[in-house]
Symmetry: C2
Subunit: 211 residues, 2 copies
Amino acid sequence: MPGPRGEYRKSAQRRAQILDAAFEVFSRSGYTASSVNEIARQVGITQTGVLHHFAGGKKALLQAVLEQRDARAEGVLERRTGRAFLAGLVEISRAQASQRGVVQMYRHLSAEAVDPEHPAHRYFRDRLRRIAAAVEGAFCEVAAEGGLREGVDPAQAAQRTLAMTEGLEHLWLMGHEVDMAEDIRRVIDEFLVEPLPSAPDRQDPDAGEGA
Amino acid sequence: MPGPRGEYRKSAQRRAQILDAAFEVFSRSGYTASSVNEIARQVGITQTGVLHHFAGGKKALLQAVLEQRDARAEGVLERRTGRAFLAGLVEISRAQASQRGVVQMYRHLSAEAVDPEHPAHRYFRDRLRRIAAAVEGAFCEVAAEGGLREGVDPAQAAQRTLAMTEGLEHLWLMGHEVDMAEDIRRVIDEFLVEPLPSAPDRQDPDAGEGA
């Protein structure tokens, strides 16, 4: 029989299973058309079983899914500044090219959440502001080192970088040939005196898991 | 009693009412969460009444709504080429700044339609390809007159213009301060030897309906 620690581990595992299922169901159907029931079925438990872990129901599941995902993504940018931060944006785009479902869910949800009444509206709005501020901060750091081209305004550079990222994702999801990471690198490079380091050679057999 | 022409006119009016209602309901709730019933209620008729005009139900309504809207927007670009076409893109963006609901619906629907199973997937995919081809065509026409800066590739310029348009719309809908038309004009100008004519002075009391 599992002791208290075993119970705790079991509960944490179940919670993680529910979050994975919620992520998948939200990705597939969008928030509005998804139900706690569908998520419960996906895990193979009852709706009550889901509510035991997420008493706030569908809204609580949405929030938990988004926070988990963001915490992972923000790991890439943590403790980076200036050019290294900007290079991190390119790396995130490169990783997303193999995560179509995730990108699709973010687009789907953030498009729904444009409605101020949507439960995730504030989340997406605050997240976008936070990202915009961080990107602007990175451009300011580069500016302080004399690394921005003449006449480039950090706030505008940040806004254009974000808009391009968003727009390229959409074209990519709609089947256009887009190399998101390289295109975003080019956009960023236009603001910089020295271009960012170019992409690692993904053909290199020693390059590790990316090969 | 209305004769056959009166009947026809009545029927056309009812059809237009239903389309307006469908547009509003889709804008508010997105396609998936909308129902023919809700659209019928909005018009004040029965579901059967709606199906009399749109036998294909919700899918048919969606298609009709999108086609009507596009036909109106394409009017702006008809018969324009080269720089005049590119200036038309800026004008469309300027008009959209007063159509938040419309822009919101397009984003909502096109984000849903990223899913290849969505009934509007093909519509949005084909529409985006058509627009991309038209914008690329305009940049090619400008290139033929020597109007593009050295090293600018028309296909890439078109893709970046579209991505920026899409991305700026998103930032705008999420509450960022964005002057979409001016920002898109700046993006296009970076590809051109001569900048596009600048915005008409919207403070000018003689400027007509834009004033």
